[in-house]
Amino acid sequence: MPIIDLQDVSKLYGFGDATNVALDEVSLSIDDGEFVAVMGPSGCGKSTLMNIIGLLDRPTHGYYTLQDRAVARLRTTQRAKARRDTVGFVFQSFNLLPRLTVLENVALPLAYKGVGQSRRTKLARNMLERVGLHDRAFFYPNQLSGGQAQCVAIARALVNNPKIIIADEPTGNLDSASSRLVMELLSEIHKTGNTILFVTHNPELTRYATRVVYMHDGSIVHDEETKIGEVAATARKALYSIPEKTVDDDLAGVSALMKAVPHTAKEKNEPAKKKAAKKTAKAKTRRTKGTKK
């Protein structure tokens, strides 16, 4: 029985002509204990997917079953409680509260659960010990290095004993050494039975995952199982065939990753680039006309 089960989930923003499809009828089911990496270019809907899975957001259409419970249409309060008890979030920018100490930050979810002060402190201390930062309990977030801050964030995500950890680019702001530290920590947590989803742009990090999901324009375009310790096959393609970046690429705003990753990305991209080029050309001519007049 999957722990996360999405059926035809869509998320739309805006309405009328300005409708923006962030997720386009995505179906995804994740079993208990999986370690899923989600990859894809910026703006492809990865974060929206994570937010919906993490109950921060509500799908516009579709069904979502979390631990055998239909949660797509929950009311805000119920959603907040389910989020508190089943999901732990780790963000790219750590998102620690700057005015609380490390210990208070870790204890925050417990406070919202209604756990008493002394028990809260004890649990938070245990969790800090687990991530190896018990000596930093009374530091403030701005006194920590990036890697340490992310470990604190992970401790905070874990403190409620959630089944699922969702990490949205947890290593996005970290150097490679800290990234490794954080990823090692996540895989350790995975070993104790948690289900983990993480978003990454770094194909190298798919080594930690048991499954890699590729997204593009709001849809899942590829889904593969991988072995821990190996870079996923599709991601490897991207990793070892990074084309030289040209000025045109930068102008069109297309990441190099996109070209290499699934499908015949080239077909899709090339016309887009041409269009963009045409547009700028048109705009130029228009501008010159304007000045002449």
Binding site: T77, R84, F91, L96, R156
Partner: protein, 413 residues
């Protein structure tokens, strides 16, 4: 749940501490509002007490005959109708020497002292003047009627020279520069007077310059008639019953005899001390309520200041709200956090206001003749009101914070 709210309280205090200046300025509105309301109510209460103390000093059996009809009911329009603020026209005729005799001849009446104002400036023999002194025409019964003691010398009596005068303590110092100027002379309206006695200090009534008898020269009403060339008019006749148990009987027999003397017209009123207290207390209450209402506006403005700053704070801390929601805070928990913060803000302002009003109270007591009374009820109400202000004006910002979509809030930097 209680542990969570205790954590919230700590967080609220924490956020106030991190923005000290802003919190202080926001509180200032509440502080000023509380100080002004508490101080004004205190001054009003103090004045009422001073008046009743003074009346207690005169004795409970003092009766006051006044010209015209006076209502003791402050809420009725008649009180306002009887005084014309714009033209100073009062529909009162003074009482005369005839009324004095009527009162004196009423059975059961003890000492009778009429009070009439004579205009005239006293000039001492060495040329010292005392502008603004009060000259009162009365009879030898005045000390008995007012329970007033002599400081030096004695009051004039029926046998003494008409030119003898009794002065208040302030006059003694200002006109003669000494505390016991017995036998000294001064002139007034071309007539020379000899100081026969000095009265001991009066219990000064607050906010009543004409009632300051320390600043007064007392002469016989007969003499007053002679130097002004008219029959003296009295603004009041003070009297007491011989037996203080017969207050009510004497009051009613006074009323009948005066009515008879006035041709059946009740164009006078007889007030006992209860009436006087009710009247002056009523006027003071009305004034206090009016000024407090003005002061309460500043409390309201302070509340708006809190709302304003809380709205800014909610916008500034949008990201924090997003984080809190992401780790599982419900809307209600966010709401209570911000409500608590605004309540703490205004409650702390209220407490500071209470402390300040106690200080202001002490300063007023030291530097003015006012004796404000701050009751614990007033302080409790002030604190309560400031807490209510915090809750009322904190609601809108807190609802705004709680209703925020978590994703939008998280995206906010």
């Amino acid at each position: 749940m209680s542990s969570a709210s205790r954590g919230n309280l700590k967080m609220a205090l924490n956020s106030l501490r991190t923005a000290k200046w802003r919190s202080f300025l926001t509180m200032l509105g509440i502080v000023i509002g509380i100080v002004s309301v508490v101080t004004i109510v205190g001054i009003g209460g103090g004045m009422k007490q001073q008046v009743s103390n003074q009346i207690g000093h005169f004795g409970k059996d003092l009766l006051m005959v006044r010209p015209g009809t006076v209502t003791t009911d402050v809420n009725s329009k008649r009180l306002l109708a009887s005084t014309d603020l714009l033209f100073g026209r009062t529909p009162l005729n003074g009482l005369t020497a005839q009324d004095y005799n009527t009162v004196k001849n009423t059975p059961g009446v003890g000492p009778v002292a009429p009070l009439g104002v004579v205009s005239g400036e006293a000039k001492a023999s060495d040329g010292k003047e005392m502008p603004g002194n009060l000259v009162i025409a009365t009879t030898p019964d005045l000390p008995a009627a007012l329970n007033q003691k002599m400081h030096y010398g004695s009051f004039f009596d029926d046998d003494s020279e008409l030119s003898s005068a009794v002065i208040g303590q302030q006059v003694a110092y200002q006109l003669f520069g000494q505390s016991a100027p017995l036998g000294k002379t001064f002139t007034m309206r071309g007539q020379s007077f000899i100081v026969r006695g000095v009265l001991s200090e009066f219990n000064a009534p607050p906010l009543s310059p004409t009632g300051n008898f320390d600043n007064a020269i007392f002469i016989s009403y007969k003499m007053a008639g002679l130097i002004t060339g008219t029959t003296p008019q009295f603004y009041a006749i003070l009297t007491k019953p011989q037996d203080n148990k017969q207050l009510a009987e004497v009051k009613s027999s006074l009323a009948t005899s005066l009515k008879k003397a006035h041709g059946g017209q009740s164009d006078f009123s007889i007030l006992d001390q209860k009436d006087s207290v009710a009247m002056s207390g009523g006027i003071i209450d009305l004034m206090t309520a009016f000024i407090s209402a003005v002061a309460a506006i500043s409390l309201f403005v302070g509340g708006i200041g809190i709302m304003n700053i809380m709205l800014v704070s909610v916008t500034e801390r949008m990201h924090e709200i997003g984080i809190r929601k992401a780790v599982g805070a419900t809307n209600r928990q966010i709401l209570s956090q911000f409500m608590l913060e605004s309540t703490v803000l205004s409650a702390v302002g209220g407490v500071i206001g209470v402390i300040f009003s106690i200080v202001v109270n002490l300063l007023l007591r030291v530097y003015t003749s006012l004796e404000p009374v701050i009751s614990w009820q007033a302080l409790a109400i002030a604190t309560g009101v400031s807490i209510i202000v915090g809750i009322v004006f904190g609601t809108a910002p807190a609802i705004k914070a709680a209703a925020k979509d978590p994703i939008e809030a998280l995206r906010h930097e």
